[in-house]
Symmetry: C2
Subunit: 232 residues, 2 copies
Amino acid sequence: MTGPVEVVGIDADDTLWHSEVYFERTERRFRELVERYVDPDVDVAAALVAVERRNLARYGYGIKGFTLSMVEAAIEATGGAIGTEEIDQILAAGRTMLDHPVDLLDGVDETVTALRDAGYRLVIVTKGDLHHQERKIMASGLADRFERLEIVADKNPGTYRRVVASMSVDPEQFAMVGNSLRSDVLPALEIGAHAAHIPYAVTWAHEHVDHDGDIDTLDSFADIPTWLASLT
Amino acid sequence: MTGPVEVVGIDADDTLWHSEVYFERTERRFRELVERYVDPDVDVAAALVAVERRNLARYGYGIKGFTLSMVEAAIEATGGAIGTEEIDQILAAGRTMLDHPVDLLDGVDETVTALRDAGYRLVIVTKGDLHHQERKIMASGLADRFERLEIVADKNPGTYRRVVASMSVDPEQFAMVGNSLRSDVLPALEIGAHAAHIPYAVTWAHEHVDHDGDIDTLDSFADIPTWLASLT
């Protein structure tokens, strides 16, 4: 452990393990099922995004809300013409996502061990569905190297203040890493903590933000130890 | 504050505010919508319970999983004959539950204040959907009297050990109250904490347990201070 950081906060979905790729796959399946029932000029994907946004405050993040929005959008976009067979297949696609094995990103397992062995205290900070996130963390095999697990409804500066307080450190002793500028990087920087962006190949439309200024950006999870050592 | 207890853990659904009554109301609506499509001898309510049990490990607790199971059961019980209009109404019933205002049980507001003013440190310990529980706690107006909020995926002895540790007390300084013997009372007693049962009018089928022995039982939430003072 070198530099000022004692506690490292790590995002989960698309930082520790793949997630968005399964949403994309399910959305393709949704389009196949729904497009048979609509005119070729109807943008089924846009209809789903509109329903998701309408439900976001109500459902929050996660696969169950996504599945409910798919069913609602399928009925709405087809004016009720879609069959119950297709709705059943949409439900099945949601269940498949929930049951999917955890698929770690490259370098995660070794790097988490290296960070722990270097003396950093590690905390997972993830939003989404409590039950599903707990299941994934248990299935990941990573849990024993983390001191704490924070599953939060939203990631804003107040969230990171609570995380830092719960680990009994000051913000400048805390570093956050993740694939979302909006959720992982900007609110952590706002409270005076360190943060680095590890972009994932696919970025969810709702997560996109424009930003100015220099943001520390890492090519891969395996670059975290070097980045931490570079902080002063 | 008298007696050995310093921290009081309080369950939320059907202890602080009504919840099960809305599940019952929605289930009646589900039966009305589905029964039109099945023979009179088909037990639609039992079909829903079967689907809920099948999905419990996958969906966990909460309204979103309940709504997904209703849609699945509606299609399954009717052999796909139910219409998309009815499925849309099932989705709407789930949204109505999520959007329902928080309806505190009698005596909760005054008693929570009295406990806080008497010097007890209060923590909500609730399972269910993280996003929805946070919304309800904020909407309840009770949050300022609680030191901590623990939304957990399950309530077992390990859960209560973590809660007690997070409040920096010993189990015998912790008392848990709630409407579920299985979730609120028995696992808290198992770790050596105090616990009291405050039965609610309706008990969810999945929550039912048989038990032997003396369990402290309160008629209402307002009886908590007297119960705490009686502990030695």
